[in-house]
Symmetry: C2
Subunit: 319 residues, 2 copies
C-alpha cells in the first residue's frame, strides 16, 4: 500500500490532501489564501500543511501532484501566471520535489479538474470528457482516452476565450467578446450589482443575502436568490445559462465528447445553473445534427482540482 | 507494388482515381453529377468510371476508399443523407465491396478532406490538424495523431454549426445563428446578389462576371471580383473572413492544433479569403493566450477528399 500527496493552489483557497492508491481521500486540509502573502507565504504554508499530512500517513507517500490556479507551462513544469507577485516563471514542480522529496508534477486547475472529475467524479466511465471550470474566470480541460489534450502550445481547452460576441466587451485575457465576459462568476456578480444599482427595489433579496450592500452582491448570492425563486436573480441565471449553452454546444460540435462536466465555484449553484443551460441547448438544437453528449454537474465540487492533483500523483507513482 | 481505388461522390462533381502505394495519383477522372439522376445514375456511372481505371491499372488494386459529400454513419458504413433521393440509409461501403470486389470504407467529405490534406497536402508533418471544408455549406474534420476524432455520435468537427450569432438567421441544419449562415459559399453568393439587387451600380464587375445577371452571382464570381479589387466584393470577402476567423479562433482555443487548413471550393479564392481571415485573427488576438497554430490554404484544392479516400484505401490495404 502506498499513498500520494495532492496540492491545489488557488487564489482564494488552497487545499492539501492525502489519497490512497485507489484515489480515495484520506485527509484534506483547506485554508484561505493570504492574498498579500504572495508566493513565499504560500510556499511556507504548504510546507507546513503537507508536512503535517506526510507525518500522519500510515503508508509511504510516493508522489506529489499540484494543481495551480493559473496558467502553467506543462512542458517546462513552471507557472506562467503574472497575476500574483512572485509566481512568474516559477519552477513549481522542482520546488515541490525538493520540498517534499517526492516526484512532482504540475497541472493548471482546469486540466486538473478535468482529470479529477474524469477519474473520480462525474466523468467516470467516459472515453472523453470536457470539463468547464466556472469561477472568477472560465477555463476548460479536454480529456480523451484518459489523457489531457494540450494542443500545440498547451492552450487547448480555453473555452472561456472563444469569441461569442461582437459586443466589444473587454475580457480578462485582453481580447474582446470572449465567452467568459458573459457567464463567469465575475460577470454574474457584476450583473447582480448593475441591477442593484439601477433598480434596488427589484433585487431586495439579493441585497439582503449580500450583507445588505449592493456592492457585496456575488455570484453566490445571485445563485442563492435564484434558488429561492427571486425573479431578477432567475433572469440573470437564465441569461448566464444561455451564454454558457453556446459554449457547451460549441464543444459538442467540435469534439462531441461523451460528457460535458460543469465544475468550479459557480457550478455549486446546481440546477439553478444547469436547467437554464439545458433549456437553451434544446432551443439551439439542430433537427439534423443529433448528439447524445451528456451535460452534467461536477460531482467533486470545489475538490475537482485536488482530486486531479491526486490523479497526476498516482500516474507519476505508476498507479 | 499495389494500387488503390479512390472515389469522391459530391453533389456537383464526382471523381474517381487510381493511386499508388505512396498515395501518388496515377489517373483521375472527374465528371459532373447529374442531379436528377439520383443514386442509381451515380452507381452506374461509378461502376463504369472505376471499371475503366481498374482495367488500366498496371498493378493489383487492393482496396477502395469512398468520400461521400454528406452525412455518413461511419460505424454502420452507411449514408445518412436525406438531401438527395435514394441515399438515405444506403450501405455504400457494402455496395462498393460488391461492385469492385475490394475491401471498401466510406468517410464523409470533411473527414476525407482532413485525411487527404493531413497525409498528402497542407497538413503533412503535423500531429494534429483541423480541416475546414468551405463549400455550399461548411464542414470540418479534426485529425489527431493520424486519426479522425469522431466523438460520441460521430459528429465531431461540425464547425459549420457552432453558434456564433443571436441574429436568428436560419441554417441549413435547421438551427439558427450557425457559423455556416455567415460564411459558406451560399452566404457569399447571397450577399453578392443582395448587393446586386439593392445597388446594381456598385457591383457592375460582379454582375459582368456572372453572365450579366444579378441572380447568377456565385461565391466564385464574388471572389474573382474581389481578386480584381472590386470594392464591394472586397468588402464582402472581408466580412466573410471575419466570421470565418471566429470559427478558426474557436478551433484554436478548443483543440489548439498544429495547423488549420482551409479547403473546399470557397478556399479556391486563395489570398482574397486567407488575408481577411488572418487580419481578423490579429484583431481578435489575446495578449495573454498566445498560440502558434498555422492558418493555411489547402494544397490539394478540390481533390482533398479524393486524396482522403485514397488514404482510407491505403490504410485498409495495410499501407
Amino acid at each position: 500500500m502506498n499513498n500520494v500527496l495532492a496540492i491545489d493552489i488557488g487564489g482564494t483557497n488552497s487545499r492539501v490532501g492525502l489519497f490512497d492508491e485507489q484515489g480515495r481521500r484520506l485527509m484534506i486540509t483547506e485554508s484561505e489564501t493570504r492574498r498579500d502573502g504572495g508566493r513565499e507565504w504560500m510556499q511556507e504554508h504548504l510546507v507546513k500543511q503537507c508536512g503535517d499530512l506526510l507525518a500522519k500517513s500510515d503508508y509511504p507517500v510516493k508522489a506529489c501532484g499540484i494543481s495551480f490556479g493559473g496558467p502553467v507551462d506543462f512542458q517546462r513544469q513552471t507557472v506562467t501566471s503574472v497575476h500574483v507577485p512572485g509566481w512568474k516563471d516559477f519552477a513549481l514542480a522542482e520546488w515541490g520535489q525538493n520540498a517534499f522529496h517526492l516526484p512532482c508534477q504540475v497541472e493548471n486547475d482546469a486540466n486538473a479538474g478535468a482529470l479529477g472529475e474524469g477519474q473520480f467524479g462525474a466523468g467516470r466511465g467516459t472515453n472523453s470528457l470536457f470539463y468547464f471550470t466556472l469561477s472568477t474566470g472560465i477555463g476548460g480541460g479536454y480529456v480523451a482516452d484518459g489523457r489531457i489534450v494540450r494542443g500545440r502550445d498547451g492552450v487547448a481547452g480555453e473555452v472561456g476565450h472563444i469569441p461569442v460576441s461582437d459586443s466589444g466587451a473587454p475580457c480578462s485575457c485582453g481580447a474582446r467578446g470572449c465567452l467568459e465576459v458573459f457567464c463567469s462568476g465575475t460577470a454574474i456578480a457584476e450583473r447582480g450589482r448593475e441591477w442593484g444599482r439601477r433598480r434596488p427595489e427589484g433585487v431586495a433579496r439579493m441585497i439582503e443575502l449580500s450583507a445588505g450592500q449592493v456592492e457585496e452582491i456575488t455570484a453566490k448570492t445571485v445563485a442563492l436568490a435564484a434558488a429561492e425563486g427571486d425573479p431578477t436573480a432567475v433572469t440573470i441565471m437564465k441569461e448566464v445559462g444561455r451564454w454558457l449553452a453556446r459554449g457547451v454546444l460549441t464543444i459538442v460540435r467540435i469534439v462531441n465528447p461523451d460528457r460535458v462536466v460543469l465544475g468550479g465555484g459557480v457550478s455549486q449553484a446546481g440546477v439553478v445553473l444547469l436547467n437554464p443551460v439545458r433549456e437553451a441547448l434544446q432551443e439551439f438544437e439542430s433537427p439534423t445534427i443529433k448528439y447524445s453528449t451528456e451535460i452534467v454537474l461536477a460531482e467533486l465540487g470545489t475538490l475537482s482540482p485536488l482530486y486531479g492533483a491526486a490523479a497526476v500523483a498516482l500516474k507519476l507513482s505508476g498507479n
